[in-house]
Amino acid sequence: MSAVMPAPAASRVLFSGNEAVARAVWECGVKVAAAYPGTPATEMLEVVATYPDIYAEWSVNEKVSLEVALGASMAGSRAFCAMKHVGMNVASDCLMTMTLTGVVGGLVIAVADDVGMSSSQNEQDSRFWGRFAHVPVLEPADSQEAYDMARYAFQLSEEYQVPVILRMTARICHVKGMVTVGERIEHQAAGFTKDAARWVMVPGHAKRRLPLMHQREQALRQLSEQTPFNVLEPGADRRVGFITSGPAYMHVREAFPEAPVLKLGLSYPWPLAKAYELEERVDAVVVVEETEPLLETELKAAGIAAIGKTFLPRMGELAPEVLAPAVERLLRKESAPEPEGAVTQPVFPRPPTLCASCPHMGVYYTLSQLRNLIISGDIGCYTLGAGHPWNSLDSCICMGASMGVALGLDKGRGEADKNKRVVAVIGDSTFMHMGMQGLLDITYNRGNVTILLLDNRAVGMTGGQNNPANGRDIHGMPAPRIDFRKLCEALGVKPERIHEVDPYELPTLFKLLREETKVDDVSVIITNRPCALVQDFKPMQPYFVQEDKCTGCGNCVEIGCPAIHVTRRESAVKPSGKTVDLAFTRIDTAACTGCGLCVQPCAPEAIQHARPGLVSIVRK
């Protein structure tokens, strides 16, 4: 993305929470911003990169991005880092010591929780990090607050020399609302000051920093009582008073407009005196928090009879339609709520699919044709290989886990798996994020794993962001491109066991996979077609099914392409007396981009190029 003219100060703009944070980052004079893409956080850095005068980067993983931000802060510049919730698991090694050194230039970490798990492997509550690392947590409730709090976070960070967590959720990141924006303020870097006692965290130094960290937390606790971000809103209906934060605040206000509410913006450390004040005013204190009973537990420990997760759901969003009936039941003194029934009509599910011409389709079609494999998977579009029609992925845990899990499956195999071959499937971005170390572990420990490195030259699942595999930086400018063959060789894979293959060539892929899984050694098969959604992909001439030639064998359906449709089904009796189900197909030529995968298993050669000159419509 190229730089754009930022909206003038004082204008009102329709911003998503992510766009609002990006604007605040620019206004605060941040010099360095780093992130690894991850839903729902991705757009923060994507948008930051469009502003002038900021160094922005896609880092190879979240830990590196936080370290980059820390370095910039040590140099005295303001720094910003964004990640999805699971990213902090990776980055936390840095966070847990950075809280001891503290920061110089304001450093804000936006962590986005996927509450409701629309695009993640787990649901975790990032507010825990505030307690764990003794750092403040700010929780916006809409786009305007995301903007206001991001701005405040830099000030707070500098005043207390502490990294600040801006805790977002999907319902903040991706909701658009009106934001009044302000002026940009230049921020001058103070310069790096050598100070081993502060920056070299050996035990002797770290021990002297620990008390400072605890003093800082105490000071923040006092701030929490005074900050205008923590407000006790009066209300006429005294039956229930709410304590809430983040998007749940809006749901509470929507469902209970007359109730007193303690709204927490600086939700850690939280204001004890304000909580007591609320308790005195109301008959019952209800805590509405997404997702863990964190405040609830701490309020109870402080002697406040808070009610929360004993009657509210412990997972997912607490939307008004969830909240209102639950509180009604509480007021009627009924027991725990019944699980809510489905609100949608019973229609077939529509799980995400691989795109037309996706190079992963060729890989999964081939894997589905092979037997006796255990396939250790990873995080990315290729996780979809676990679904129909391929059913060719046996695990997905966390970034890079395909490597270690595969080695463990190999080393831990029992008699029952003696003839099984272990395959690991990982994408280019995930490999660079956390898979390389796993591969080194496999080669060093003489594992027997066949690795499919699906190099589609992009971070596909999050929208095709650039990475070292395509040799372009966050702005699309040329950057050094990694050579996976050399990298794998350097990590200990024998050169003759490294193969590069076109995943559109099914027979080659099949032969190679069969051969390499038979070898008792580590092999890496690198597929080399770009993601169908990125600029490197060049659409080709679409295909169509010649109706008179189609025998209904259904082989093309097994590819799993969304452009192939079944037009009619029939049953036929073979000469052997066996009944077979036939599926006659057509290709949606407007969606087909001509990869030719479906042509290869079509025995009667019924799939032909569509008429010359017909160009496919390619959706970005």
Partner: protein, 201 residues
């Protein structure tokens, strides 16, 4: 739910332009001086999954989410998706839907069935439906991608403000990027409006 808030649910599948259409509706509401909130779940939905986009506007919007049973309008880009989300409408709400059937691989694989008559099923729930073939209308105008503007035309006469306000939002978008497409989009918008009137007759 506040009485003076308008709730519009726009549904379809990833890649159809549901989010852009909702954004244009939001811009029109902003032009009328409303507070606006718009939400959807993105992420994996861009891989042909379900997309439902919530738009709420009025004097002040709190929660961005439309509660089931409280949408005034449901704009469906795909027939089965309109059926899936029909329960979000108020009993007196209105469904405006494209009749297009987009069959996912999971149905082609024979694992699930596509409903025979999704629009009939919505009517059976007691809801008022106006169904039209936005894709054919767009094709007649010579450009498949005009389907989105046809969809916006379809909702234009059911908003709490004049249809011209919505048309203006569309025109503003194209004027900046592709001025040569303004006239074609005006025609697509008019065709969408006409299609809904026809569907009522």
């Amino acid at each position: 739910m506040s009485k003076d808030i308008t709730n519009i649910l726009v549904v379809g599948i990833g890649g159809q332009g549901v989010m852009t259409a909702t954004e244009i509706l939001a811009e029109a509401a902003i032009a009328m001086g409303h507070d606006v909130k718009k939400t959807e779940v993105a992420g994996m939905s861009q891989r042909g999954g379900v997309v439902s986009s919530h738009l709420r506007f009025g004097p002040r919007v709190l929660s961005p989410q439309i509660a089931p049973g409280s949408a005034h309008l449901l704009l469906g880009f795909e027939a089965a998706e309109a059926l899936r989300w029909a329960g979000y409408l108020r009993p007196d709400g209105l469904v405006l839907t494209n009749t297009a059937r987009i069959v996912p691989p999971i149905v082609n694989a024979g694992v699930f069935d596509y409903p025979e008559d999704p629009i009939g099923q919505i009517r059976a729930l007691g809801l008022e439906v106006r169904a039209f073939d936005a894709l054919s209308i767009a094709r007649e105008l010579g450009e498949l991608r005009l389907g989105n503007t046809v969809m916006l035309g379809a909702i234009a006469d059911h908003l709490p403000f004049a249809p011209e306000v919505l048309l203006e939002s569309i025109v503003r978008r194209f004027q900046a990027r592709k001025p040569q497409l303004v006239e074609l989009n005006r025609r697509a918008f008019a065709a969408g409006r006409a299609a809904v009137v026809e569907a009522m007759a």
